[in-house]
Structures are given as C-alpha cells and as structure tokens.
Symmetry: C2
Subunit: 421 residues, 2 copies
C-alpha cells in the first residue's frame, strides 16, 4: 500500500481511472490528485487532467445505459458500475420539430435531463463526486444547496448507504425541503441566506476530513460529471458534435465542461473534430456573464440575483471568465431573458414537445428564441438545447399563468358549448 | 383503399402491426380491430389478439431505447418510432440490495418508472393509445383523470401536435392542475367527483367520433402499453422472467398486462417459460381485490375509496376478477397496507435506495414487506417491485412526516453540536 495523496486519511491508493493529476486553470500548475479545489500556486480552480489511453466507441456502446459507459473519460474507478450509486444519464435526446418550427430553426434537439433519478442534471455531477469521494476515503456526502443539488446529494448518499449532510437556507420552499428530507439524511435548515450557507459549508469542509462537500472540496471531480451531457449528445447524434448548443449558465461550470467533453471526444477520435458554437443562457435578473459578453469584458462583475430562475441565480459565477473564453473561441454568444420570457419559454417547450421544464430550461428555450431573432443562432445549423431540470420543482413560476380553460357542470352539453365543439 | 374497420371515418386501413383482432375476455368472441372496448356479445372487456410471426431478441435489442423497441409485440404501426410521441420506457431496473436487506429478501430489483417523460408508467399506455388512435383516424386525445394520466395525455398530445381534452374534478390539488395545464390543451375542471367525470367521458366519447379517450374507447390498445413493463424487466434481467413480481392494483389492468407480457415472451421463445408468481398490492382504504383474494371469492365487491394512495383509488376495479385469476394461477398473493404503512414504504425506499416514489410505490414496498412477514414471498427467490410513479406528485403524503433535523444559526459550532460531530 502506498500512502494517500489526499488530505484525508485512507488506507488505499485512490483509483480514479484515467485521471492522473490536477491542473490549475490559470497557469497550468500541476499537482497530484487530491480532494482540493483551488491551486495554492495561482489561486485558480483546479481541473482534472487525464491519460486516456485508447478509448473506442465499441467499448462505450457495450457499457451500461447510464453515465458509467463513459467511465474511461471520467475520474472514477474502473469498477464504478459495480458500486451502488444513482446511475444517472442515458436521458432522452428528443428531435423537437414542433419547437424548431416555432423558433424558426431547421433542426432542434432537446436533451431532456428531467429523466434523471432526481430529475435534474445534478445527479450526473453528484454521482461522479460520490465515486471519487469514496476513493479518497470520505464517508459523508455533503453540500450547501437551494434545491436540485440537495435532492441529488441526499438521494445518492441514501443509495450508497452513506450519511449525508445537506445545508439549506431555512426560508426554502416546503416542497424542496420535503424532496430532500425524504431521503433521511442530516438535513439542516440554516438561519441565513444562500451565501451564509455556502460559507458555512466551506468552513465545515475544513473541519471534517471525512465529509465530501460535493461542490466544495471534491468540486474538480464533481464538475467533470457535466461532460457526460456532451458525451451523450454526441453519441445519440450518431457520434458527432452538433454545430450549435445552448447551455444555461449558473456558475458556468456546466458550459465549460460541455465544451471540454466535446474537445475530448475530438481528441480521442471518437468524433470528427468538427467546429461547433457554444451559446450561453442567463436570466436577466442574474446575468453577469451575459453582461460581460455584451460589453466585451473578459472578467465578470458580480451581481445580486433577482430572478425566478433560482437554480441559475449565482451572482458571482466562478467559471464566468472561462465561459467567456469558450463562447468567444467557438464563435457563440450569450444572451439573457426576462422572467416573463422564462415563463414563455417553459410554456413553449411544454406546448410544442410535451416536456415540462423548470425555470432554468425556460431560460434556455427563451434565450434560443432571442438568439435566433438577433441572428446569432444560424437557423440552418442543427441546434441542441440542454434542458437540465424539471418543472415539477418550480411550480410557482407558472401558477399564475396556466390553469383549466373552464370550470363546468358534469354535462356533455356544457363541455361542447365551452369547447365550441 | 379499403373501408375502415372502425367507427370513426378514416381513409386508410389502420396499421396496428402484429395486432389482428379483438377478443372478449370472458367468452373469447372475436371481432375486427376497432376503437371499441366492450364486447357486444358477452359485455366483457375486449383485448388485443396478435399474429406475432417471428420476433428475435436481436431485433428488439437493435431498436430504439424506448418502448418502441417492442413494437412487434404491440398494437402500433410498423413505423411507430418515426412518428412524434413521448417515447417512454427504458427506465432503470435498480438492484436494491439495501432495500432487500431491510425487507429480509435475498435479491430485490426496483423497476423505477419515475424516469418516464411525465414521471409515471402512464406515459407507456398513453403512447400506445396515441399510436393506435392515429391509425383509427382520431384527431383529439382525451381522458378523465385525477393526476398521472392527465399529465401523460396532455404531454403526449402536445408532443404529437394533437389537441387534448382532459377532464378533472375541480377539487383536484393545484399542483396536479398546473402540471397538466402547462401543456396547453383543453383542460376542463368539472364540478363533480371522479365518478361524475368518468361518466361524462364515456358520454362524450359517444358523441365525438374524432376524440380518442385513451382509457375509454381505445382502452384495449392503451392497456397493452403496460406489457412493456414486463418486456423491459425481462430484457434488463438478461432475458429471463423474475420468479416473483409485486404489482400495485388500481383497475387491475397493469397486473394483467404484466402477466400477459411475460406469457407472450415465453410463447415466442424470447425467454425460457419459467414459472413466476404475481403478487398484488393495494391500500387498505381501497382494497376490494385484496379482500376478495383473502375471502377466496372470484368476483370483487366494489368499495368507496378512502386512502392517500389516490392513484390506486378505484373502488370498482374493472380487471379485478382477472387479477384474482392470475394471482391464483401463478401461486402469488394479494395484500393491502394502511396509509401509515404506505408512508413508511415511501420513506423506506427513499432511505435505502434514493428513489422517491408516490403513494402507489409506497403501497408496493409496504405490501412487499407484509408479504415477506406473512411468508407469502419466498425470501430466497428474486423479487421485482414495480415503482410506477413519482413522489414529487404526492408531496402531501409525507409533509407531516419528514423535515429538517434542526434549524440552526450559520455557525460551524452549532452544526457540530446538533450533529454530535
């Protein structure tokens, strides 16, 4: 047995598959794999670097129908599919002809990530975080969250037989509390706002060597889970990269990892390394990256969020500058939409494709509409929209907008009259 | 062009794939395929009969990752996968070792149908109903419903570009109204209870030749969609039938179709025709089939439902006698559980496997527990539990039972003290 590389005590060498080291995003400083998230050299985020070796389509296609089919491209152990976890992924890629027509685009695909175990893409990142955390010897899965991440963390810990510690602002809606509490972990309501909860998580991560805060101390591994969105889209399109993709921006991590996923597929020869454009979507009430893009800045000015798209409401997005780099490099664009447009986006997707998304998905659809109108999305190029969460979790957003067409007595005549039929 | 066989006007012969005729369940009277649901000869339900021809595992395995991979076993056209529909199915079959341990069973599998497009198994039956209805020349998709079916019908119609007419009791919870209304069909709130709404649907079906009420006039096709649960379970187990399966009972249709699915697989040589036992699960507050089973009757005495498991609350289950036949024939059993046990079942599944089910799933889990305790489920035989709907839709059931462990100030010391860590 060799000594551990991490900061936690463990008696075995972590098996993180193809992952070989961590690299700082700013200056490329390299350091051994460990549960760390900021470079001590340049204070930039740490990212996982790999030695992939040879990866073939056939190996992936023969794998399980979940994200572990891509295990050779993730920082997870080689037997990851044998270890209890939530097994997310393999969600639908829906050809959305009716939506395309309304948007004025020739071909649109909707990646419907509401099919995940707790109905958001967070299951992907949490599953990877759990797999890596286990290798580092952690024993508790933790997070600060206001919703989707809380659900995913509590569910994954339950499935694995781990304890979870989930910190939420005490003002959270009862529905989001219930959907986390049901998994029976240690759910703690904190008398403070989300920033307070986040700071508390970082402090606790320092004190508890056995607690893996998925989006804090194991963040480099966690965030790699978003690459599986890119992998699935490419595989579902018959192993090719879509020319245009629209991605919602919260911290910006997902957008950067979708780009990383596409690049890795190209580098490995799993797809033709064709050009693609990455587009970012924000709600105007929290649009620091969109504002920076519009003004041509390469840094992001923090804002105080005020939008119904709460799962995207990160006022100081950690990966904002990297998002700007990618969007500029690929020739994409970033736009933001009003809360009214978000609701319209939710309704448009539901009405045309029968997919009910949360506010973040409404942001993506409405932004796509705006990007067509402003000529930034090429109407003739195939476009993928990432729909990352479920409408059942944000019912408040639509409750003053939709309802029964009429309330009637139980009579066929009344129905016929009401419907003019 | 030949004349239509159905009661609706259409200009083409319906292509319903391998389906060849309808057969009455009681006396086996045969009649041509049509949108009819009761035999005029013996007044029993009509069921689809097939001429399957040769069906090979390879053909199925090469099909799409949704229920249409089984199109050669369903009453749907041969090009069904090319027509917009919700494409449900391919949901997870989860090996549930932690649940198995708590139940005292050696091996348990959970079929997690919350991964469907609108998060219940109803997407399966509605998709088949829509596919068949289109062949019969219908143009409107309709249903009476109190929840899951309303969601599935409105979503499928939206995706297909059809109009939907969904009838609900006006007292339905706001959440269930919103999750149907968002798809922008004709949702009508009826001033009456579910029985009133149901009667109204039957009356309207008679008046409107272009309206396919999924669970009324196209019910024989609709109900065949439940067979895909059996097909998927068998395929996911490596083409074999589980020795024990626990199925919730509402109308009883799902249980009869799971059995039909297993039998068809055996007849076609797609699996070894090994023996299996089918177990039924009801909530005590609506347990007419369980009561009949216990008393050894072969008919079912209707009851007035009073249970939190509202999606199972059918007091006069149409397929009750057939359920009794199957359970007795296969050597299974039926049990019912109290509302308190239903909540415990929901919590047990969430706590052990990270799967949050609606009340119907709580019924299935709690019934499995009772069946083990009473010696009716063999602890050494592999057992599949059908989890057919999502906890997000029945939050009321758990809201007085789960919540945060504590509410604390934003201090690490307070957290550590509260958790004793």
């Amino acid at each position: 047995m060799t000594a551990t590389l991490g900061t936690t005590s463990t008696t075995k060498t972590p098996d993180l598959g193809p992952a070989v080291e961590l690299v700082s995003k700013e200056e490329g400083h390299r350091q051994p794999l460990a549960p760390e998230f900021v470079s001590a050299e340049d204070f930039s985020p740490l990212e996982v670097a790999y030695d992939f070796g040879r990866v073939r389509r056939e190996d992936i296609e023969a794998g399980p129908k979940n994200i572990w089919r891509y295990k050779k491209l993730l920082p997870v152990p080689s037997n990851v599919e044998e270890i209890p976890n939530t097994e997310p992924g393999a969600t639908r890629l829906v050809r959305a002809d009716r939506l395309a027509k309304e948007l004025g685009l020739k071909r649109v695909w909707v990646k419907d990530d509401t099919g995940n175990p707790t109905h958001s893409f967070k299951d992907r990142v949490v599953a990877v975080a759990l797999a890596a955390a286990r290798e580092f010897g952690f024993e508790v899965l933790a997070c600060p969250s206001t919703g989707n991440l809380a659900n995913a963390t509590a569910a994954a810990a339950a499935r694995a037989g781990w304890r979870s510690v989930v910190l939420i602002p005490k003002t959270l809606e009862r529905a989001k509390i219930l959907t986390t509490a049901v998994y029976d972990g240690d759910l703690l309501a904190i008398d403070g706002n989300y920033d307070d909860v986040n700071r508390l998580a970082t402090e606790l991560a320092g004190e508890h060597p056995k607690w893996a805060f998925v989006n804090v101390n194991v963040r480099p591994y966690y965030s790699e889970g978003s690459k599986t969105l890119a992998f699935e889209v490419a595989e579902q399109l018959g192993w090719r990269i879509p020319p245009q993709i629209v991605v919602p921006i919260a911290s910006g991590s997902q957008l950067t990892k979708v780009d990383k996923g596409f690049r890795e597929l190209g580098q490995l020869g799993l797809v033709d390394a064709s050009p693609y454009k990455v587009f970012g979507a924000q709600a105007t009430g929290c649009s620091p990256v969109s504002a920076a893009f519009r003004e041509g800045h390469d840094v992001v000015q923090p804002v105080k969020p005020d939008t119904i798209a709460r799962s995207l409401a990160i006022g100081n997005p950690a990966d904002g500058p990297y998002v700007l780099d990618i969007v500029n490099r690929t020739g994409g664009a970033i736009e933001d939409v009003s809360d009214e447009e978000v609701v319209e986006g939710i309704r448009l997707l539901a009405r045309t494709e029968g997919i009910f998304t949360e506010t973040a998905g409404g942001v993506t659809v409405a932004t796509a509409k705006k990007l067509v109108e402003t000529g930034k999305l090429d109407p003739d190029a195939e476009t993928v929209l990432l729909i990352t969460g479920d409408g059942l979790k944000t019912l408040d957003a639509i409750e003053n907008h939709v309802g029964p067409k009429a309330t009637l007595p139980p009579s066929a005549a009344a129905v016929n009259e009401a419907l003019g039929s």
